[in-house]
């Protein structure tokens, strides 16, 4: 996920959908609520994010704040199991993929209508797939259609048309749609849980959206008339102030408990905490690490998301002596990770043993681990002829990411640990955006550095492929064996076939040690004492239909 630091959606709805499927009932189950608070609470749920949404047409979005709102309005074919990143039925009750991985047949949820009354059926599904595939050239840039480009690789037109993964969609009958791909894409189902690939009303799109407009993120559809199947409808978007969502009483799943949900933007984390304390908001995302303990003491609820991220210390092999594996191992042995975590990350943060968190497919419990052993580190540096070497250490300032809450503090601890084994550290601080990113990823003018990533959905390639898929300025190494292994794994038709390969790759990477994975910091949400039923999701698939607020 990009700029606004927010994770992905599907928990509650996924659960609701599963429940409905399992019990074999449909709408009659509506009154039954999963959250435990079965009373209709009514009232308003007022939630603060860190920025305004960019657009309410999720296909043109890639930021967490846009997704936060679109998750309430829209649903995709696929959701996630509550509290996990694993794909689960949502608008599709099930699916079957052919052996070659090329065709997937989706069975659709019955009795679903879009907010404008348009029926949700196989034709609507195909209309959405065709819309994405046939995006005009003007919308084929990463700022507009980042997720489609990253995952489906090409459109019907344009220079990358030959690489397009999508081929066609057919409506077999009202409730069965078949999607055909040009090449296997094991992450296909998981990718469909991204809000960017939500189902949108074809009627409303026809009438109010213009994909060819100079700026489709700002069209009438994208700002006033987003039309999905979700538990909330858009009431109004008062630019610069708030998005107001109204309960969708005709929702096919568990109808929301609150009458309306309002999302406001408060940029500063301390200001969000203060607003919660004074009761102006009911809850907020991206709790500053320093606010967690005080808020809990004051009686507020702090909800920790399972981390779906990784923070690492990268080592640029284009700079000596980092090209020497022994030096990289020595650095790994010099790091006391629990100390780094306790000094600069929220409670509950898990030390990392590899470049993926453990809930990601392909996590390997048996990778090589580099124990904290400063004496060994010193010895190895001496053996490598690098004792007392000077190493440039790049770190960002003025930023807090879910995977990197306090980079300055993290830097300080690591610096003293490396100096303790005799290395000379030359600190280089840069403002996060764009200076730091530019330096790390646009040039080879950096030594060791702090960086990380929050995953979008459960696909190992979304971590490993993103980091090590090709030669890059960030790492400064050329390892065709690793690149080939990643590309081979990506090309397999099913996650089951991919899993052993990714396990091997994780082990291989930890032997090669391009950097030291440090931690999976826990991102937190905070709520007032009266809020109930908020289900966290590691990929931020958080839908608010089970949320209640006692007045």
């Amino acid at each position: 996920m990009r700029l606004a630091p927010i994770p992905t959606r599907s928990g509650l709805i996924g659960l609701a959908a599963t429940a409905l499927v399992l019990s074999g009932c449909a709408q009659s189950d509506r009154a039954e609520s999963e959250g435990g608070s079965s009373e209709q609470s009514g009232g308003t749920f007022l939630f603060a994010g860190s920025a305004e949404p960019v657009t309410l047409d999720p296909f043109f979005a890639s930021d967490g704040e846009s997704f936060r709102v679109s998750r309430q309005i829209f649903e995709g074919l696929v959701g996630t199991e509550p509290g996990t990143a694993d794909p689960a039925p949502l608008l599709a009750t099930g699916w079957e993929t052919s052996e070659d991985g090329l065709t997937t047949t989706f069975d659709l949820q019955e009795g679903v209508t879009f907010h404008d009354g348009t029926e949700f059926n196989a034709e609507a599904v195909c209309a959405n797939f065709e819309r994405w595939y046939n995006m005009p050239r003007s919308a084929q840039t990463e700022d507009l259609t980042y997720y489609y480009i990253s995952l489906f690789r090409g459109f019907a037109t344009g220079p990358d048309a030959g690489d397009a993964i999508y081929d066609s969609c057919s409506a077999d009958d009202d409730l069965t749609a078949t999607v055909t791909l040009n090449k296997p894409f094991a992450g296909f189902i998981a990718a469909l849980s991204l809000p960017a690939f939500s189902m949108q009303s074809p009627t409303a799109l026809d009438e109010y959206q213009d994909d060819a407009a100079g700026n489709p993120r700002n069209s009438e559809y994208s700002t006033e008339r987003p039309t999905g199947t979700g538990p909330f409808t858009l009431d109004s978007w008062d630019r610069g102030q708030q998005v107001t969502l109204a309960r969708n009483d005709d929702y096919w799943g568990d109808v929301a408990l609150v009458d309306e949900a309002v999302v406001v933007a408060i940029e500063d984390p301390t200001a969000r905490a203060d607003a919660l304390r004074s009761g102006e908001i009911d809850g907020y995302d991206l709790v500053g690490p320093a606010d967690v303990a005080p808020l809990e003491e004051e009686g507020f609820q702090v909800v920790e998301r399972d981390p779906f991220n990784v923070l690492y210390l990268g080592m640029n092999q284009a700079q000596e002596p980092l090209d020497d594996p022994m030096v990289r191992q020595a650095i790994a042995h010099a790091l006391n990770i629990p100390e780094i975590i306790s000094a600069s990350m929220p409670e509950g943060t898990v030390p990392a043993t590899q470049f993926v968190p453990d809930i990601v497919m392909g996590f390997n419990p048996d990778v090589t681990e580099y124990e904290y052993d400063p004496e060994l580190a010193e010895q190895m540096l001496a053996d490598a002829g690098a004792d007392g070497a000077t190493i440039e250490f790049n770190y960002p300032t003025g930023v807090s990411r879910p995977y990197m809450p306090q980079p300055e503090d993290t830097f300080n601890v690591i610096r003293s640990q490396l100096e303790a084994v005799g290395l000379q550290i030359e600190p280089v601080a840069d403002a996060w955006s764009p200076d730091y990113l530019e330096k790390i990823q646009g040039t080879d003018d950096h030594g060791i550095h702090l960086l990380g990533w929050t995953g979008d959905y459960n696909d190992t390639d979304n971590f490993l492929g993103v980091f090590f898929g090709a030669e890059s300025n960030e790492w400064g190494f050329d390892n065709p064996e690793l690149f080939d292994a990643l590309s081979e794994a990506r090309g397999l038709p099913t996650p089951e076939e991919q899993e052993p390969l990714y396990e091997d790759i994780n082990a291989e990477i930890m032997d090669y040690l391009p950097g030291v994975p440090l931690a999976h910091p826990v991102p937190s949400l905070a709520f007032g004492p009266d809020v109930d039923g908020y289900q966290q999701s590691p990929v931020q698939d958080e839908v608010w239909n089970a949320v209640s607020v006692q007045e």
Binding site: A48, D143, L437
Partner: protein
């Protein structure tokens, strides 16, 4: 007077033109690439090139400038790279918030500052004077963010009287016509909405207004003290005029000139102070937006907003100059 105003307005044209050139060069000279900001920490080099092409950032600088000015002359300020939102519309959405805040802060500073300064001058050397002078020293020296924390602690946490974030309680279904929320409340007769907006303005306005307040107190005090020693005041006193008449007709009128100048200058500072205040109080005006635009290298937003601010600043200065004429007729002659 009218000719004076028109001449000043005409002068703004070359000033703004020069500003647009400087601004364009300066904004582009900032290190870093807006495409990088936009695409985040995992952007591929190809994607960055593609976005730069899409926005024309790969063109020669002069070409880019001409394109920009051409659009500008047609009233098109472009749109944000980050969000795609139209710069002019965003400014319209957010500027009222900042104006509302700055005006309230200024009102607070004037209404409290001028009388305090006057009283201090009238009681020079006494306890009241000492208290006001040291208080204003403290006011000038207190950083806005610290004051903000203090205000939140006292008025929100302890007393629970005032809200600490946003411009209005979103639960109030207020109608917004002008985006000046207090004004909107009056226009629509939604008194609770107006009252709520005023409560939300209180803490940020005090935080933002404290430094101008302290400065106004000091200037007023010094200026009044000086005027009190003028011959014409002594003459008025010996004529047997009442103290109130002397104050109104001779002292304040003469002493206010530097105060008005100061207020005019403060208006510019208020806009920059608003950046911090708006962030700390989650008050979504142009200040916080501008701050984001700088850190993301959102060129069109930066250029557009700074040009708007320059126009507004020039207009405020013009008004201040015209006010001189009203307060002191001697200025009109020259």
């Amino acid at each position: 007077m009218l000719r004076f105003a028109l001449r000043r307005l005409a002068l703004m044209v070359p000033v703004l033109f020069g500003l647009s050139v400087l601004l364009f060069a300066w904004v582009r000279a900032l290190p870093g690439d807006p495409a990088r900001s936009l695409l985040g920490e995992r952007a591929t080099p190809e994607a960055i090139v593609a976005v730069n092409e899409a926005y024309g950032f790969d063109q020669p600088l002069l070409q880019q400038y001409l394109t920009y000015v051409k659009a500008l002359l047609q009233g098109d300020f472009g749109s944000s790279i980050q969000s795609g939102a139209d710069v002019l519309t965003t400014f319209g959405d957010r500027f009222p918030a900042t104006v509302e805040l700055a005006l309230t802060a200024m009102l607070f500073a004037i209404v409290v500052g001028v009388p305090l300064g006057y009283l201090a001058a009238r009681n020079q050397g006494r306890l009241l004077d000492t208290a006001v002078v040291s208080g204003s020293l403290l006011g000038v020296a207190t950083p806005v963010f610290f004051l903000a924390i203090l205000l939140k602690l006292v008025f929100a946490d302890w007393l629970g009287w005032l809200p600490t974030a946003l411009r209005q309680d979103p639960r109030i279904d207020a109608t917004h016509i002008t985006n000046f929320y207090v004004l909107d409340g009056f226009l629509t007769r939604e008194w609770d909405a107006a009252w709520d907006a005023m409560l939300h303005l209180a803490l940020p306005a005090i935080a933002l207004g404290t430094i101008p307040l302290a400065i106004i107190v000091r200037i007023t005090r010094a200026s009044v003290a000086e005027v009190l020693h003028e011959d014409y005041v002594r003459t008025a006193e010996s004529k047997g005029l009442s103290r109130g008449t002397i104050s109104r007709r001779h002292v304040l009128r003469n002493a206010l000139l530097p105060v008005v100048t100061t207020i005019g200058l403060q208006a510019g500072l208020l806009l920059s102070g608003a950046v911090l205040t708006e962030t700390v109080f989650g008050f979504n005006g142009i200040g916080s937006y501008l701050f984001q635009a700088i850190s993301t290298r959102d060129f069109p937003v930066l250029q557009g907003f700074i040009i708007f601010i320059a126009v507004i600043y020039s207009l405020i200065n013009l008004v201040v100059d015209l006010l001189y004429g009203v307060i002191d007729p001697r200025v009109r002659v020259s």
